[in-house]
Structure formats: C-alpha cells, structure tokens
Symmetry: C2
Subunit: 593 residues, 2 copies
C-alpha cells in the first residue's frame, strides 16, 4: 500500500470511496452485467437468509433486514465486485450462541452485537490490524469451518425431523436427538429429506449448465438452454422454498397441517432504531444499563468481528484475481455495513463464499451489483412476508444443511498429510475442540498450537557442526537462522557437547554467521559464555562474515575484539600462516573477566 502522503486528492478519495472509480467507468453494458448478477445473487440470498435467521434464533424477517444494508453500503465502500455482505451460516450460529440467553431479548442483543462488531471491524481497518488474521493458519481455518458446518447441520436435525427440543452444543444436540427419537414426525421428515434430495440434485445440475457471461474470450456462445439450466440450479433454494410454501398453503386450504410451519411475521420495512438504548424500567421489571448489556454479550464482541474479518479477507483474496487485496479497506467496508445494519434491525453480516461464487459466475463487474440485490431484498420484506407462515421448517432446515455440507473440507486432510504431516496436529486439535468446547475456544486452541509449533521451530534451529580436515583441522559451526533467547542455550550446549565428545585435538572453531541476522541480549550473553567456555578448553574462536550489527553486539557483550574473516579461504590461509590463531585480544579479555 502506498503511503498516504504520496497520494493526490483523487487517489485519496478513490482509496476510501472505491465507488468513485467504478462510477467513472460505469456504462450500459456494465450495468446490465451487474443487474443480472445482482438478481441471481438475490435469488440465492433471500431463501438462505430466511433460513439463517432461524439458525441465529431470530424470526425470519430479521434475516431479510440483515441483508438490506450490506448491498448498498458495500457498493460504496467495497473493492471486490463479487462480495455480498449479508448473513452467513457461521456468523448466524455464533450470533445464536452469544445472544439467545440475553436477559434483554435476543433481537436487541443481536443488534447490539452487530453494532459493536461493526465498530471493531472499522477500527481494525483504520488501524491496519488486518495482519492479525495471518496468525490463523490454513489448517486452523479449515478445521473450524468444517467443525462449524457440522455443528450447524447438527442443529438443524431437529427441524428436519419435526422434533422439538432445546440444545446448544454439538454433543447436547445429538444426545437430545437420540432421546427424542420416538417423537419423529413422519411428514416433516419426508419433506425434509425430499428437499435435501432435490437441492443436491439441482446443485449438481450446474455442471451441465453454463453461467451467463463467463469468459470474454470464449468464441462459441453458450446456448440459451444451457444458461437456463444454470439459472435453475442457482435459483434452487428459491424454487424449493416457494414450492413447499405453496404445497403447505394447499394443505392448509384443505384444513390439513402435516408440516411444522414458520411463525407469522410482520410485513414492511424494518424500524429505524438506535442500536444502543438502555432498557427503561417499566411496570415491575427492572431496566438494564448499556454496560450490563455489553457484559452479557461477553467475548462475542471480539469473536464475531474476528471470525468475520478472517472469512472476509480469505474470500476477498480468493476473488482478487491476482491483485493485492486492500485488507484495511475491506474491513472498513464490512464494518460500515454492520454499523449501518444495526440501525435497521440487522444481526452480524459478512461476505459468503457461495454467494461470491454465484456472483462471479453471473458475470458481475462492480460492487454496485449489491444495489440490485438490496432492491430485491426490499421487495421481499414488503411483498413476500405475508406468505412466510407457509414455509415449512423442514424446508428451511434442508436449505441450511445443503448450504453448509460443502463447507466440510474432507480433502484437505489428505493434502495436509502430503505437504506437511505436522500440520495435522493443529487441524485435529482445532476440529475436535470446536466440536466439543465451541468455535471460539477451538480457534484459540488452534492458534495456540500453531504458535507453539512456531516457537519450537525457532527454538531448535539447525546447528551444523563439521570437522574440516585441513593441514590445521578446525570445527565449522553453521547456524541456520538468527539466534534468540529460546535457541541460544540449545546452540551453546550442542557446540560444547560436540567439543567435549570429539576430544581435544581440534583447537580452532570457526563460527559461520551468514544466517545470523539478529541476536538478542540473552543470545549475546550466551555467546559470551560459550566463547569463555571454549577458551577455557584451549580453543580459539573465529567468526565468518558476521554482519556489522552482529559483530558490534558480540564485541560489546564479550568485551573483546572478535577475530573476523570475510571468507573461509581467508581463514584457512590464516591457519597456514599461523596468524589469527592466537586470538590475543580475546584471550586477554578472558583472563581479565
């Protein structure tokens, strides 16, 4: 990223309002591309967010409210055309975990969470803290995404079978499921599995279709038939949900209620309201202060934006087409989406990989396509909400399960095993702890394991000790990296042991400093003690090409001038000539110390 001072005014505006760049070149053909993509994404999005809302423990309309602002705000501040900011499965699950117990109501809690998550994302963007996500390695991300998908799918099992029980954790869900096996509802289960079958089959259909504007260079135009297949596949959620609702309506018309249905929801625009309002005490109930409300949200305030940034940066990179992603601007954009949303009843939102893929395949050109998706969402909650009470719960469960089941990464384990077997440890540790203890603890444990691995490698550098058989034999010691407090003692012991075991016949030690770029205080002191110990055993020590900094550090630490050679040949020559071996400076200091 170029420093701010070198930007002129226009560059500056474009950097913080990327829409300016896109607007400048906006024309009819770009607009049509964006329109097609926007509508296609809307078809995927609307049934998904209705389902995700129930995952978050909220009424269906909150899914639509949450999808409202993302499109408009991201169109102005976003940089990646494919991204669409709306509810996602993982954030819905996390929102549920942090809000369903709130004493002041889960809706208010979710809205507050959105506001704080937005503020934090905005701050991370402004302070360039995005690099923090680099400490979450790919195995850890894969593990927690997979574990999250399994947890989400498990949570929908009850709706799929028409069961009614309350359970939160993965283990509790399955325990309750088996305890309630006898209560399984025939019609709900049939509908649920039918929906899953149809959704998976229609998903597969995509392979036989063709996206509308795939490749500019393509010579042969795809047939309308293939495009239709593609659209049918992409609109599968909408079609399944609408069909099931119609079916339920017909049953109800004949006074039959075989399925458990979604509750009645209010119609129309969400109310504009402040996300941070203390609850006033009213007839008999105590009020709640903002600080108490924040306390109830707990570490959700940290976990949700962290997971959101992690997912967002990852998705942005995947669709950046080789350009460098301005991670800070992305965080600012998503932060603003959340802050704006929190005034319109939104729960935390984020980009989703599946939507980005649909958008990309639909030939999106600029983030402005989000505006068209947003308009579709407005249509949905003004016109469609009266029909929501006809959507069967089992259908929504099927939509969620089919969306998350492909988030479980099974092939990665094989690849990790092939590339670096040790990386299986953070993967398995994260996966198991995400399932058993919870997503946030799982991520933390994964990061911890990775950091331990990192510290281990830093603390155990390769120390190559070779006996060079010249006319005057000598030991050559080569460190593979910089030396810090954690590796200094290891290196010292290794060298001392080698000298101890190999006997006393070799009196010259050449320490090759080529890879030592840095040396901290502890390491410098350790070198001092090593030199003294070697000296006591009658060995003379010389250094090969230390850089100026290392040389200075060692000389200050040992209070002696080092014998330094610029090449190994120079050292060998000095051995033959007999100079440089006496190392008089150093010896003088050793006796003085």
């Amino acid at each position: 990223m170029r420093p701010l001072t070198s930007l002129n005014t226009w560059d500056f505006v474009v950097r913080f309002l990327p829409v300016c760049k896109f607007i400048k070149k906006y024309n009819g053909s770009t607009a049509i591309c964006d329109l097609v993509a926007g509508i296609t994404v809307g078809l995927t999005l609307i049934p998904q967010v209705i389902a995700y809302a129930s995952l978050a423990g909220l009424e269906p309309q909150y899914g639509l409210y949450s999808a409202l602002c993302g499109g408009f705000v991201y169109a102005v501040f976003g940089t990646i055309p494919e991204l669409n900011i709306a509810p996602t499965a993982l954030l819905s699950l996390l929102t549920f975990q942090y809000t369903h117990k709130a004493s002041f109501g889960s809706v208010k809690a979710a809205i507050m969470l959105t506001f704080f998550a937005g503020i934090l994302e905005l701050l991370c963007g402004i302070l360039h803290l995005g690099f923090l996500v680099e400490f979450v390695s790919t195995p850890v991300v894969s593990a927690f995404t997979s574990a999250g998908a399994i947890t989400i799918a498990s949570s929908q099992i009850k709706n799929l079978f028409g069961l009614k029980y309350n359970a939160e954790s993965f283990i509790e869900v399955w325990k309750q499921f088996f305890m309630n096996l006898t209560e399984i509802q025939l019609w709900d289960s049939l509908l649920g599995f039918l929906c899953i079958g149809i959704l998976l089959a229609m998903r597969k259909l995509k392979d036989y279709g063709e996206p509308p504007i795939a490749n500019q260079n393509q010579t042969e135009k795809s047939s309308v038939y293939k495009k239709l297949i593609w659209f049918t596949s992409v609109g599968r959620n909408a079609m399944v949900v609408v069909s099931c609702a119609v079916m339920a309506f017909i049953f109800q018309y004949h006074n039959q209620k075989p399925f458990s249905l979604t509750a009645k929801v209010p119609s129309g625009f969400p109310n504009f309201s402040l996300p941070l309002e203390p609850i006033e005490p009213s007839n008999g109930t105590n009020g709640t202060e903002i600080s108490e409300m924040i306390g109830e949200l707990g570490c959700g305030i940290i976990v949700i934006p962290f997971v959101a940034i992690l997912a967002n940066v990852g998705i942005a990179k995947a669709f950046a087409h080789g350009k460098v992603v301005d991670a800070s601007q992305e965080m600012i954009a998503v932060g603003l989406c959340n802050i704006a949303g929190s005034f319109f009843g939104s729960y935390p939102v984020n980009a989703s990989f599946s939507r980005a893929a649909v958008s990309s395949a639909s030939g999106v050109r600029t983030p402005l396509s989000g505006i068209y998706t947003g308009l579709m969402v407005i249509m949905a909650f003004t016109l469609f909400t009266p029909y929501f009470p006809y959507i069967p719960k089992a259908t929504l469960a099927a939509v969620i399960i089919c969306a998350v089941v492909f988030m479980v990464e099974t092939t990665i384990t094989k690849l990790i095993w092939k590339i670096n077997k040790l990386d299986i440890i953070p993967f398995v540790a994260t996966f198991i702890s995400c399932l058993i203890i919870g997503i946030e603890m799982g991520i933390l444990i994964g990061i911890l394991v990775e950091v331990c691995k990192l510290i281990y490698f830093t603390s155990r550098p390769k120390v190559l000790i070779e006996t060079i058989q010249e006319t005057v034999p000598y030991l050559r010691v080569t460190f593979s990296s910089s030396i810090y407090f954690s590796s200094a003692e290891y290196g010292r012991q290794k060298i001392l042991k080698h000298c101890f075991n190999s006997g006393q016949e070799i009196h010259r030690v050449l320490i090759n400093c080529i890879n030592i770029l840095n040396l901290d205080y502890t390491a410098a002191k350790c070198f001092e003690s090593l030199l003294k110990d070697l000296q006591k055993r009658g060995k003379t020590v010389a250094f090969l090409i230390p850089n100026d900094r290392i040389r200075k550090v060692l000389e200050v630490s040992c209070e002696a001038k080092l014998t330094v050679f610029k090449s190994e040949n120079q050292f060998k020559l000095s051995l033959q000539e007999g100079n440089g071996v006496n190392n008089a400076d150093f010896e003088a200091v050793i006796t003085q110390l």
Copy 2:
C-alpha cells in the same frame, strides 16, 4: 547428554549418584578443603536462614530445619560442588505469599508446598523438561530478580524501624510505612541502620582479604592476615547477629528492652512427620481434606518449583567452569532435597548465588562439603536455639536487606541498551509488573512479551527483492529464513506489491530458497497462490537450490513440476539460451487449475 543405552553400569550409577565419582577420588586434602568451605558456608547460612524464615512468615527455627536436609541430600545427588541447597530470599518471599493465608496454618502449608515443589522438580528432571527454563530470557530473569529483591527489602522496612503493620504487596508496604511514620522506634531504627552500615563495610573488607584456597597455580602464598580479613568478611552475618544478641541480653539483664526481639523458639531436632496429612476434625473445628489443602496452595505448586529450577540451572551454569551442566540431574537433586526436607519441617529450598560464591572462594572441591554445613546446622538448632529470643528483629532485617540489595541489577539495563535496545521492553515490563502485580504474574508477562517478540521476528523475515540487470533482466527474491503461516502472507504481499509497482517489463522471477529449510501447509498454499498470481501477470518463476523436502512440498502444493536451478549462473545461462524460460510445465497446470 549421552543416551542411556550407551552407558555401562558404572556410568549409569555415576550419572544418578554423582557422589560415587567424588567418593572414589576422595582423600585427606579434598576433605580438608570441603571442611573449610562447609564451615565457611555454615557461618553465612545460619544467620541468613533464621532471617529468611521470618521473611517466609515462619518462626526462626524453620529456617534451620529447612537448611538441614539440603546439604546431606545434595552431597549424594548433586553435581556442582559450589551449590548449597537451603532457604533463599526469593523462595522465602514466594512461600510467604502462598502460605500465610492458609486456613490450616502457614507451617503446614509451607511443608506441603515443599513436598509438591520437590515432586515437580523431580518429575521435571526425570522427564528432561529443564529446557522449559530456556524460554525465560536473561532480561526477564534480571528484572524479576531485581524486583524480587526490592520487594524483599521493602518488606523488611517495618522491622528496621520497629513498626508493626501487616502488608503484602510492594505498594501496600510503602503505603503502610508512610501511614505509620509517627510510630517509628528510635532504638530499633538506630540498631538497624548501624547493622546495615557494619554489614556493608565488612562486605567491602573482602576486597582487601584473600580467600583460603583460590588458585592452585598461584606462586605467592597469601598471608594469614589477608585470609583472616576474608573470613571476617564472610562471617559478618554471624558476627553481627551474635553481637546484637549479646547486647540485647545485657540490656535485658539490666531490665531494659529497647529493641523488638525475636519470639521464643523450641530447641532440638525437628519432628519427623508426613508432609501430606489431612487435618482431623477436633472439638468444634472442621477438618480439612488434602484436596482442599492443595487448592489453597493454588499456583504456588507450579510457581515455586519453576522459580527454583530457573535459579538453580542459572547458578549451576555460572559455576560449571565450562562443563555442560546436567540440568536434569540438578533438578532431580533439588527435588529430592525438597522431598526429604518436607519430612523434617522444611519450607521450599534452593541454591543461592551468594552462598555458591562463598563456597567457591573457600576452595570447595566436592558436593560432600554440604555434609559439614549440615552438621553445623544441626549444632545450631540443638545448641543455639535458647539464645534466639535475644536476636533483635532489626538486626535480622539488616541481614536480609544487605543480602538482597546486591541482587538489584542496575548495570544490566545499560548493557541491554548497548546490545539490543528492543530487549529493554521485556525487562521493563517484567520489572514493573513484578513490583505491582506480583512476581509470578511478572514472570508470565515477561515470557509473554518475549514470545510476542519472537513471533514478530519469525513473522517478518527479510524478503530481499533485487532487480538483476542481465541481458534478460530478472527479479531475485531471497527469504532470510524458513516460511511459516505467520510470515507466508507477508512475503507474498511484498513480492506482489513489488511486481505491481515495478511495472511489467521484468518477466522472470528467481526465488532463492537457500535459507528456506521448512515450509508449513499454510506457507505452501500461499506459495501456490503467489505462483498463480505471478503467472496471471505473465511472469515465469524459477527456484534456486530448494532442498529436496521444500521442492517436494511445493510440487505437491502447486500440482506442478518446478523449474529448479542449482546455481544462479545456471539460471543466467538458461535465460540466454532461452530454455527454462517458458516454464511450460507450470503454465499447463495453471490453466488446468
């Protein structure tokens, strides 16, 4: 350390019972050296441990009980002749912190703590976990030692001035001191400062004297006069304590009690008792289960052995004279000293630097000298205890203050600044948090700061990107170290940005792998995306001397054969000849992906 399998029986016995080695060569002259050193150390130790007992919140005799087993057990299992295992100032302070609130009495708590500390030290020794102390850097050790010394000295201020108040933390101590200023006792204060003056002056005397058996090679024998001066200096604690006790006795004989004196203590051997005994319920009071008692000791069970091992390994190294310290055997020895001690009323014990220095200067030859010190301790608690009630508290405070004041390392800050300015941060962070929050949190914070520093350096390796102007210009990218998840993205961005800013005229990139010894899964995947991104911009990528492992990892990750060169000249040659540039294999894969 040699593996166990390569040892014959005798080596095996010697390794676990180092005394066998020493006994084999034991003769008259060695015994006399050890006797002189043992008695000299005893003279320093006895008044010190009486004082330290009060620091630990225990009666004076417990100091002596604690000094009993160390000498005998370390004589059998220890490897460093200079070390003497008995109470130290820092462990006394920590013992006080973890035991003075115990519901089952601080004596019993201290004994239990000793037992568990011993078990943990023994385990660490057996499991070779000593390397853990390597993660505590020198600046952190210096900072917590200095802060500990200041806390200890501060805690003695009340005894020095004859004040009576209860305060634990450094801040509380000084707050209480200033609140009780008007209560200062004239005679206690006079005596205290007089003792400090005398002790410091006598300490200085050592510079004019000469230790008994300093250097075998010394030609000129030191005069008896100089040796006498040296012994006077070393025995200063004993002399000051005895003089003050005699003075207090004379005053009392004349019915005067100007000083606040030590309490009356029982005489004779400590009782042999099990360290782990639940407290039986008796008339009205409830009993306490072992598990509850352990709960009350809290993290002291971890902190005390950790600090003990840290100090011990450090002191052992300082006196190892260039030999490699068998850290595991040292931990086993100290662990056994504590376990044995816990049966005789000991609180946690450890080696002390000042005693080791006295022992070294007195010409100690083997750890058997500890037996003589142990015999002196036995004499002390059988013969001297009736006189303890005459020792003024201010005198003991003076002994403690004069012992710890030299633990405050003031010169190290200057040296750290000279050697590595960044290391000032862990030093200051540890120092301040030790003083304000407490020693154990201070050490933890220090370790955390150091680990963050380490991760930072690992995550931000040097990535050198040079434009080489040959007939066909190319970019040479050199990484300074192995690449892990935390540094991979940084490297990728740096290279991409460079390619983006430097324009499109350079089409060849040579990645120098000489320093890359390891690559984890995340880094491998990051390399894959980097190669794809570079490919998209029309650049061809070649690798310079990757090792076999790195080459395999990259080929699996990128699903392509790499273009590899064994030297830069070979690469240059290939540029001129035009082969190797097309990189056909890789290109094929990129389009396929």
